[in-house]
């Protein structure tokens, strides 16, 4: 039984189509992330699921229940807001107890459940405080506890970590996922931070301009982007375009040649001769050959390029290296210092070159 299902969801504001036909099938107990840039429709979709927005078209099912037109208070959801939305005039205890009191749960049980929820987010003993006395991270955890204490059918999170500093964000990613898994609750998570999405999701739906451009596990999204938008949005990539020129010789490989005669060997897969392709290569898969390098693997690409720019990032150095008319992003360990103008040899394994289908997708 699916935990949550969206069918052809459409939402229009005036002349803007924010959500343009979303179909989603979320498994019970799964945490699915809607990932995309600002304005892609992810928050609108989430708010439709919550009931804050009524869609123009389409249906929303929570379990077997059709909830499309139900108000938020009838959907049995838990919502975590980006700015926490804790009620400032109530203590932490009352913030958590509010939803429980509405359900006519006896006082003794309320106390127990509130304490348990605070334990879950590691804030026991904070029951008597007011939100203004809490730090950002603590407020966020209380917001999470408030959404979970009522034991909803589905947990909805709207960029809950974006107001926290980087370190806290990283910690909270794991906490949220652990909490979700230990409770087995279906969750929909919205973010524009792809590292966050990759870290805590079971599956990711990458959105752009109101539609889902690719859906898959974090590994699939990262290693097999199905269109240029996803390849560019997830991780870092360099893009090179060319035409498939050589197929006959090698059964496993093909060669793609660019307009300025740069030849790159790639995995053959189901490419056909003269096919136009876009190749994406991630910086971490390109190695700069030095005397001390391991021998170049057979069939790997050995291409000559010129260093254009360098940026010191602490753990690596981020280079822009020119390959003909193309610019590749390459990361090297911080000790390997190259200077602009230097000619280098790049090793690119064919299996690390992603072929992006040359179809008219968004992005």
């Amino acid at each position: 039984m699916p935990g949550l299902r969206l069918e052809n969801l459409v939402k229009q504001f005036g002349r803007t189509i924010a959500v343009d036909g979303i179909n989603l099938d979320i498994q019970d107990g799964e945490i699915l992330t809607l990932l995309g840039p600002s304005g892609c429709g992810k928050t609108t979709t989430l708010r439709c699921i919550a009931g804050f927005i009524i869609p123009n078209e389409g249906e929303i099912y929570l379990g077997e229940r059709r909830v499309t037109n139900l108000p938020p208070d009838k959907r049995d959801i838990g919502f975590v807001f980006q700015n926490y939305a804790l009620w400032p005039h109530m203590t932490v205890h009352d913030n958590l107890a509010f939803g429980l009191r509405l359900r006519r749960i006896p006082k003794a049980e309320i106390r127990g459940r509130v304490d348990k929820a605070l334990d879950m987010v590691r804030l026991s003993g904070f029951a008597g405080r007011y939100p203004r006395q809490l730090s950002g991270g603590q407020q966020q955890r209380i917001a999470l506890a408030r959404a979970l204490v009522i034991e909803p059918t589905v947990l909805l999170l709207d960029e809950p970590l974006s107001n926290l500093d980087a370190q806290l964000r990283e910690e909270m990613r794991f906490e949220i996922r652990e909490l979700q898994k230990s409770l087995g609750i279906t969750a929909v998570y919205v973010t524009h931070d792809q590292a966050e999405a990759l870290a805590l999701s079971d599956r990711i739906a990458v959105m752009n301009k109101g539609i889902i451009t690719q859906m898959g596990t974090p590994s699939e999204i990262y290693n097999q982007p199905s269109n240029r938008f996803v390849a560019g949005f997830i991780g870092l990539s360099s893009f090179v375009e060319g035409i498939v020129t050589q197929l006959n010789g090698d059964a496993a490989y093909a060669v793609v040649t660019t307009t300025d005669q740069v030849k790159i060997r790639v995995l053959r897969r189901d490419l056909v001769s003269n096919q136009k392709v876009t190749m994406a290569i991630r910086p971490e898969y390109i190695t700069v050959k030095t005397e001390a390098s391991l021998p170049v693997p057979e069939n790997a690409n050995l291409l000559e390029g010129e260093v254009i720019r360098a940026a010191y990032l602490g753990d690596v150095i981020d280079y822009r290296i020119g390959l003909g008319q193309w610019i590749l992003r390459v990361n090297t360990p911080a000790e390997q210092i190259l200077h602009p103008g230097e000619k280098v040899q790049l090793i690119i394994p064919p299996e690390r070159v992603t072929i992006i289908p040359e179809m008219e997708g968004p992005g």
Binding site: G51, I77, F81, N83, P88, H89, R146, I150
Partner: protein, 278 residues
């Protein structure tokens, strides 16, 4: 500590003189009021009354009943003023709270026009407006009734109450209500338990403002209230030419609610509510 040059001394002295002047400007009239209220005889050019006593006070408060000094009991006018003020506050808030909420939360069509409409009564000179109202009210049988006066006061206070109420509701982030809805609260419950308490300081301030405005309202009350409705400001007006002592007593009585509310508001708004919202 910088040395006191002659120039600095001069500036400091001027500053002191200015502050004393300001002090007298603000408190002088009040001191004058208090002096006049206890003056039995006070003729120019004496700086202080020649004879003081509480006669005017006891007449006003109804302890003494003599026509000799021309002061009458103000208790009835006081009651009338209070009843009208309370009615006006209740009716204004009953209208202003939902109206302010709607204007703050929803994209009400012609929002600007509606607010402008509320503003209209105050945009014109008062006397012509009230004279015309007098004619209308006479036709409707509302002159010289409590209802008529309450309506006049409503007209004057509604615009402020609606503006302030709208601002108070606007200052509350919509997510707070949405959070309540998401844990199972109906629209009404979310409003009553979340929105209203948070808007309370602003709403209370506007209620106090409406109360004081109603208490002090004169022109409209004068036109519509006569002859049977008598409020404190009308009594004040009637005696201000001839009986300065009596007028001072009424003026001080009118001041008391203002000062009282100022103290209450300062305590209340400084307390948990404002801090809780912030």
């Amino acid at each position: 500590m910088t040395t006191m040059t002659p120039k600095r001394l001069l500036l400091k002295s001027l500053e002191a003189v200015f502050l004393v002047f300001l002090f007298f400007l603000i408190f002088g009239p009040m001191v004058g009021l208090v002096l006049w209220s206890v003056a039995i005889r006070w003729f120019w050019p004496n700086a202080l009354p020649q004879e003081v006593g509480l006669d005017y006070w006891s007449q006003a408060l109804g302890f003494q009943k003599s026509l000799a000094i021309g002061a009458v009991s103000i208790t009835e006018a006081f009651q009338t003023s209070m009843i009208i003020a309370v009615l006006v506050v209740v009716l204004t808030m009953v209208i202003a709270i939902p109206a302010g909420y709607a204007l703050a939360k929803y994209a009400v069509p012609f929002r600007g026009a509606i607010l402008f409409l509320f503003l209209m009564p105050l945009a014109f000179p008062q006397q012509p407006v009230f004279v015309n109202l007098l004619l209308t009210f006479t036709r409707m049988g509302l002159t010289s009734t409590i209802q008529g006066v309450v309506l006049i006061h409503l007209m004057v206070s509604l615009v402020f109450a609606v503006w302030i109420s709208s601002a108070a509701f606007k200052s509350i982030p919509p997510e707070l209500e949405e959070a309540a809805r998401s844990v199972g609260a109906s629209k009404m419950r979310a409003f009553v338990q979340i929105t209203l308490p948070l808007a309370a300081p602003g709403l209370l301030a506007s209620a106090v403002f409406v109360f004081l405005t109603s208490l002090d309202e004169f022109t409209g009350t004068f036109f519509i209230g006569l002859p049977f409705i008598s409020t404190l400001p009308m009594l004040l007006y009637a005696s201000s030419g001839s009986n300065l002592q009596f007028a001072s007593v009424i003026a001080i009585v009118l001041l008391i609610p203002s000062i009282l509310f100022m103290v209450i508001i300062e305590r209340f708004l400084r307390g948990e509510h404002i801090a809780g919202v912030g």
